[in-house]
Symmetry: C2
Subunit: 406 residues, 2 copies
Amino acid sequence: MRILTLALLGCGLCWGQAADECKPSSLNIPGAPYPCVYPDRRVAFRVAAPDAQKVQVRLGGTHDMTRGPDGLWTVAIPPQVVGFHYYSIVVDGAVVADPATRTFFGSGWDNSGIEIPEPDTDAAYYSAKDVPHGQVGQRWYYSKVTGKWRRCYVYTPPDYDANPRTRYPVLYLLHGWGENEQGWHTQGHVDFIMDNLIAEKKARPMLVVMDNLNAVKPDEDASLYAARGIIARRSMADVAPAPGGRGAAPAGGRGGFPTNWGGVFTETMLTDLIPMIERTYRAAPGRENRAMAGLSMGGMQSFLTVLSNLDKFAYLGGFSGSSGGRGGFDPKTANNGVFANAGAFNQKVKVLFLGIGSVEGPGTKNFSEELTKAGIKNVYFESPGTAHEWLTWRRCLNDFAPRLFK
Amino acid sequence: MRILTLALLGCGLCWGQAADECKPSSLNIPGAPYPCVYPDRRVAFRVAAPDAQKVQVRLGGTHDMTRGPDGLWTVAIPPQVVGFHYYSIVVDGAVVADPATRTFFGSGWDNSGIEIPEPDTDAAYYSAKDVPHGQVGQRWYYSKVTGKWRRCYVYTPPDYDANPRTRYPVLYLLHGWGENEQGWHTQGHVDFIMDNLIAEKKARPMLVVMDNLNAVKPDEDASLYAARGIIARRSMADVAPAPGGRGAAPAGGRGGFPTNWGGVFTETMLTDLIPMIERTYRAAPGRENRAMAGLSMGGMQSFLTVLSNLDKFAYLGGFSGSSGGRGGFDPKTANNGVFANAGAFNQKVKVLFLGIGSVEGPGTKNFSEELTKAGIKNVYFESPGTAHEWLTWRRCLNDFAPRLFK
């Protein structure tokens, strides 16, 4: 197989040798044969750019494509790890989405996406099965904190309508940096994961609320939005400063968040979101019926929010994101001393969950061990063989949700 | 103003003269200052393509952009008509979405979109207001007819959860050619339109079900899908035939639909969709509680389905799409003679609605007049100043929905 792989890489796509084995990605637009994935997880791309000088694919590095006589550019890139990956193409320096796939909001724009499939058996928990299905509803609400209409998505479990007197606990679940409130139901398959867990009686029926962690007050510079959630993409025009002042460059950029980072979202959540949810849905009240979790930056946000509001939440999860893992953790002072009294903390926080992909580094494991040393009960979950992407987070949710509200 | 316009067109964007007046489109990604719309509805675009030879915008024609010394290409194009428009950019022959906007599924792929705003007062009916809000839910269901899981969206009115014993009538509402089940709630703002109509007591609270009109049986050639709903985009690679047989070219292409066009969707709807909706939601049963409408190709589909199944539907709407308008209408034979007995037809079909944008031509008006001549009661609705796009269809829905279930 290695010989075959090298031979293929050496000659572009080598039509006819193995093209039939290359299966279109499940995220392609209907009818699009490319990108496709070979059994060994190499990926073949094809882009029509008849007059271009240079066309590249950006997925796990930048790969030059080869022009065919028909103006179609092709390349087969080395095997990719399983899971969901954003990617883009570069046409003579313009970074754009591949028009052959549906797009997915990440890194602040609508990228292309590709799913490198797991074996069907491994993917079953986030696939549609013949079980009762809940639904994900798009819900608009007005925020007094931001002075704007906001959109969230709410998963209601399969039995929600059939039990008009039942109240359900709520998991508030956040996306990551540069993503938005659509991530968990498009990239994450939250509905299939919950449907399957509930059908197997592994998780309690619950509501899952997915909001946008970007929140800016009316009197704040709008560029903070970009600094909080959207990178300044220097290679692209869309967030570059415009002559005349619109869209001025973010003050911080990635890694340079404003000092009040996270605070406005927490305020929006407590003031607007949670009351709207508990008014609109049959949500069970009280801290023991509220959980919060998020991925990456959304995990950081969850730690910030929950650890400052233990009167309102009893469950906390960070998927590839928390408040620790960078060393220097002092349980006496971290997060305003919330960990200082381990016994009190353990009584309040029913589940403290730390998830990570195995190839993301040891930070989260170290943090978990430091917490354990300080007497803080926590669950460490490691997704084997996955990176900082949605397959890690689907697996985290699949492990986390069954631990809630029990 | 005309002099100013010409002066601006003559020098590209002419920064500093009027840049402040150019308002970012509401469909841009967060923080993106371009594309923006001037008060006179000219539109300015900016694309980063440092190494390209030629960059163009395709919106109401193809417009060459001008390269600045910074590798940013710009252009201001002549005033556009109000409403929602798909558009794309062309970078050295590659037709792609502008990375500065959210994308919208139309013409079979995720295009860029721009909203040329109406005056706020005209847009109020499809805008978020401080009224009770329903929600749009994403619902998966298995189709025995197609042998696949399918996704639809269901609008439930604001009072749905508060009235657990109430059953609601249902409007089945279809997208157009090359679009999908997401069109009505992303491009169409169906939720705000219905929320506002219901709040003003102009429309009865109802469910609105939005499915995908593309349906292929398991034993059919998958390329029929492309022929039915997705154009063969000759300038792009994604639906071109692949060596080895995958994604073979559609048999028909646009205008060349297979002879059984529409039949599989009707069968899917009657066999799988309607029973699922009436099992899952509190839908009122019977023909007088069912309406069907659609835009463009979805209007054609609605006419095909309803006129062959008058025992199941009592309301029918075509928005820029119906079964007539091309001349040669013979009420004795058209649609298998369903119009032959006008009295019987009028008793069965409570509302027959024909909507169109005023600049789309006289076909629909002619059809309405032919129907009237044949004694068939119908409503003709003309949207002033709009074309074959979503603003026409939002207005059609806003006029059609209040006529239903009364």
